[in-house]
């Protein structure tokens, strides 16, 4: 009779999740530490403002915490679930606020991409702002696909699961979005 690993999950994340589902805020805090940066990046590229991205990132995790009792560990990976929550919050955010063109002063608050040289930091902040603006010209579905595929490195299968479409649809959306970005960015 084989020994079964019961009442302790095989997987670190599953254990943390199970505890968070039971109401353990500390376990959820660890999950927050694991995924906060990825969700922030995703949100920033879709709203274009560091301050708004910080608030929305926090909102994503508070919303996730409140909905955790409804989360099914076996259905979607936790990270995918977070992206879905983030997407819904971003849609709400855009519904309530008109998109704003990024001005120079907005670039000052853009997140930096790590670099040791001050001139690189400025350049990277500008690039982050330019990419965010370009991504926001796409429709919402294409924004999701582009950010999840090329910034977060998800496969078409994972992206398809998040957007609720087929892998083939994800490929087509990506193909068109890259063409649109190429036109916008003057590639």
């Amino acid at each position: 009779m084989a020994f079964t690993v019961d009442w302790a999950f095989n997987n670190d994340e599953s254990r943390l999740l199970a505890r968070a589902i039971q109401g353990d805020g500390d376990a959820f805090g660890v999950l927050y530490g694991l995924y906060m940066e990825a969700i922030y990046r995703y949100v920033f590229l879709r709203v274009g403002s560091a301050a708004e991205a910080e608030d929305l990132t926090e909102d994503v995790f508070v919303r996730a915490w409140e909905a955790l009792p409804n989360y099914r560990i076996t259905q979607h990976p936790f990270k995918s679930w977070l992206y879905r929550i983030a997407h819904n919050l971003i849609v709400d955010y855009h519904r309530k606020r008109k998109p704003v063109e990024l001005a120079d002063e907005d670039l000052q608050e853009n997140p930096a991409m790590p670099s040791s040289l001050p001139e690189d930091i400025v350049e990277h902040k500008q690039e982050a702002g330019i990419l965010a603006t370009a991504i926001q010209t796409l429709d919402k579905e294409a924004q999701m696909v582009i950010v999840l595929r090329f910034v977060e490195g998800l496969s078409h299968k994972e992206v398809a699961e998040i957007i609720g479409k087929s892998e083939a649809a994800s490929r087509v959306i990506q193909h068109r979005a890259l063409a649109a970005l190429n036109e916008y960015l003057g590639g």
Binding site: V5, N10, E127, V151
Partner: protein, 336 residues
Amino acid sequence: MAEHTIELDEILDTCLARIRTEGWRVDDCLAHYPAYRDLLEPPLRIAVRLQQAQAIVPSARFKAEASERLRSRLQSSRRAPLARSTIRANAITHPIRRIFTPGKWRTLPAALGLVVLFSACTTGVVHASDSASPGDPLYGVDRGVEQVWMSLTPNSDKKLTLQVTFADERLLETETLAGRGNTKHLDDALNNYDQAVADITRLAEVANGEDREALSQLVDQSLSKHQARLEALLDKVPEQAHKGIERALEASQNGRDKAIEAINKHGEDHPGQGPPDKSDDSGPSDEKPGNGPSDKEDKSAKPTDDKPGKDQSDKKDKEDKSQKLEDKPGGGPPDK
């Protein structure tokens, strides 16, 4: 159209992977796929540019305040976090149910241990050990519950599994203290983690190893992830705490290697079915001074092996767990 898109997409992925891992440049890719050059170049250049956004990180101020801000928002959310001791009291129903399953009665000391455990729970002392982190006056009560739990755990493989959970708990306490900026007790928490890992190694040496692969995988995956979490902590704590974390990292790495070696060696010594439980497969060794209320485990309270009827009980546990986790559907599909 679809086939063409798939083919181009696969080439694009291959190029991005080679750029990332093999140091290729965009021109190298284009030269490698001359027939696709015109179609490939625009999306490839855009994709490479988009990948630079992987380096976007939130501000240092946000990262420093994030943990505390979230904690505060969770407290005021529609679902305030529970005390950890309450959570543990819920989780502990598994071994209790197993012991009281008809035909699976254990020794009198086991039942007495449960009485002690229930008494502690119902008097509210355990419930009051809210913070359950080193430095809290009632932290010892929390650790005492763990010792009772360990003493009630019926065989050495399960003790090892439980000890992995306890090591996870110690790491969580460390992360909690680091998140709160409590460097005063951080070293105590790290010492406790080191001790918990040492106990994993010790229990691995006496484990039955009935399913070596599962045990080995559990130890490997858990401690490997602990190491990643400890490395992440290095960015979040002041310089003076780095030494303790580096020591814990080393303990975790060595502990994992030794435990896996012990599990596998034990399996080689006893191929096929595992040997009977060893009588000395006690729980964790004594804690560091000042942590547990009673450092010595009460071995007389240890129940005997629970193999008869185990499958049925395990099955019920799993059904319960599965039902709990799949109670309600997750969030709906994203807005289109």
